[in-house]
């Protein structure tokens, strides 16, 4: 059952990821990206990472991609119009680089991997791994965790400063 589901999600993931790159309308690209994130969440579920699976949907599909869509709609972008020799050349090079990279990584993947130290179960699997992740985050990874909160704060301030339209002094938003 699980391998079939994995194959299904994997095929969906690859297909939608390809559509993200291939489709000319940025809104459609973004929608396919949402779909691919959702199938990725499915794969996380199969890999016993329920917490990450749903956080993936909440963060990526619920927040990041909505932001993307918001920006695309706000800018009201036209379709990509792609023509001209140098674009064709670059596109060819792009696909070739991608294909070479794929070949290389597949060769690496064929080498077979040692399974690593065996444990019967993922820690905390019986109660769901949210608790286990939380404990790890607040103990071993506390410092990085706090750093990311700083990062988010900086990003938030940065985004606001960047997009704030300058108004003449003294004029306030009604």
């Amino acid at each position: 059952m699980v391998p079939y589901l994995f194959m299904g999600f994997g095929a969906l993931l690859v297909a939608t990821a390809l559509m993200v790159v291939l489709h000319r309308n940025p809104v459609t690209s973004a929608l396919f990206l949402v779909l691919s994130f959702c199938s990725l969440a499915g794969i996380y579920l199969l890999l016993q990472a329920e917490f990450l699976g749903f956080v993936q949907i909440i963060v990526y599909a619920g927040a990041i991609m909505v932001l993307f869509l918001f920006v695309i709609m706000y800018l009201n972008l036209p379709h990509d119009v792609e023509h001209g020799a140098h674009i064709a050349l670059r596109r060819g090079i792009g696909w070739m680089v991608g294909a070479l990279l794929l070949l290389f990584s597949l060769l690496l993947a064929r080498r077979g991997w040692s399974p690593g130290p065996e444990a019967a179960l993922l820690p905390g699997a019986e109660h769901g791994n949210a608790g286990a992740i939380g404990r790890a985050l607040y103990s071993r990874y506390l410092f990085p965790f706090e750093i990311t909160s700083m990062l988010l704060l900086v990003a938030m301030v940065g985004a606001i400063v960047l997009t704030k339209t300058r108004r003449p002094a003294g004029e306030e938003r009604p």
Partner: protein, 354 residues
């Protein structure tokens, strides 16, 4: 053949399918009559009677409205993005229905489709997907009113989701689990008010540090379901019909259905988190068969009360303005929710160690 029947996975899948089918069927019926109830209640609030012509007491009004909508002509704007235009109404209904799979409608295992150990996250994930329906509907219609409605809703739902998510954290802290079944279990039984002999049901709302989260959750749930006083995405006074201006026939009805599905879902979650879910008195008296049924009954009763409250509010309040709505969400609800998380965490820690 017998091997298939005794296969554990197959049995789980079979039962899940049966439950899903029952819930879907019941839900559609409930929504139909929820619309009827809304029209009746608002009628009586407005010094009139509401639908009373079709069928006895007007009971056939909404089913026949559905039939009418099915047969109405569908209009698709020429410049619309056809594919997205078709997908958006589906997205309006789908997340709400998915959420139902994790809500404990009665005592498990009978009345729960599946007990996911991150059930609350499922709800949050699905409610965050709900934004797409409205945003995409607004964008794909190629209509300025619809676009404004879509953009408004994207901003509104993202903003209020933060406070919504934060307001559930004290509940999680108290229950110690993300599973909705677990959260309901943590509200079983009664507790004595310290210093008195008065016993109260151990419902979330009856703990002082969960009152503010409940209020925040309630306010945010109005925003999440896009109902008055937060119905800005479809504010008919300003944006004609907002994001569904260009929709007609059954596609329009899907948005309508979605709104009511969402209303039922969010009320169910509210009951689950703060009002003890299916817990209620007299359940242990009735024995193993009728007890759980009574639990379902309690759940439905609470649901009815909340749905009535939603309808009541809608027909009473004016609509907020967009900037006021955003200010309220970011400058009032969000800080209050954060402060409350801290207070609840400190209190629970202190009580656990005291």
């Amino acid at each position: 053949m017998t091997a298939l029947w005794s296969n554990a996975i197959f049995q789980v899948a079979l039962w899940a399918t049966v439950k899903v089918a029952i819930i879907l069927g019941v839900l559609l019926g409930v929504v139909t009559y929820l619309i009827f109830a809304e029209r009746k209640i608002c009628g009586h609030m407005q010094a009139r009677t509401g639908p009373n012509r079709v069928g006895p007491l007007g009971l056939l009004q909404t089913p026949l409205d559905v039939v009418k909508l099915l047969f109405k002509e569908e209009f698709i704007p020429a410049q619309a993005n056809k594919v997205v235009f078709h997908i958006a109404p589906v997205l309006a209904v789908f997340p709400a229905i998915v959420t139902f799979s994790v809500i404990p409608l009665g005592p498990p295992p009978m009345f729960v489709v599946t007990d996911v150990n991150v059930g609350l996250l499922v709800f949050l994930a699905m409610s965050s997907l709900g934004v797409y329906a409205i945003t995409l509907a607004g964008w794909s219609s190629n209509n300025k009113y619809a676009l404004l409605g879509g953009l408004r809703s994207a901003a509104q739902m993202i903003s209020y989701e933060l406070a919504l998510g934060l307001s559930t954290i004290p509940v999680i802290l108290r229950a110690g689990t993300l599973s909705l079944v677990g959260i309901v279990d943590s509200q079983a039984g009664t507790y004595l008010i310290p210093g008195t002999k008065l016993a109260l049901p151990s419902w979330g709302i009856l703990h002082w540090y969960l009152v503010l989260p409940f209020v925040i959750f309630l306010v945010c749930s109005f925003a999440e379901t896009n109902r008055a006083p937060f119905d800005l995405p479809e504010a008919e006074g300003e944006l004609v019909a907002g994001f569904h201006t260009e929709y007609s026939s059954m596609k329009w009805a899907m948005f309508f259905l979605g709104e009511y599905f969402n209303m039922i879902v969010i009320c169910s979650i509210m009951i689950t988190l703060f009002f003890g879910g299916w817990h209620g008195p007299f359940m242990d008296v009735l024995g193993p068969v009728f007890g759980p049924l009574l639990g379902l009954g309690w759940f439905l009763l609470k649901l009815g009360v909340f749905l009535f409250f939603f309808i009541w509010v809608r027909w009473t309040f004016p609509r907020l303005r967009y900037d006021q709505l955003m200010n309220f969400g970011w400058k009032v609800l969000l800080p209050a929710a954060i402060a409350n998380v801290l207070i609840a965490a400190v209190w629970l820690y202190w009580r656990a160690n005291a």
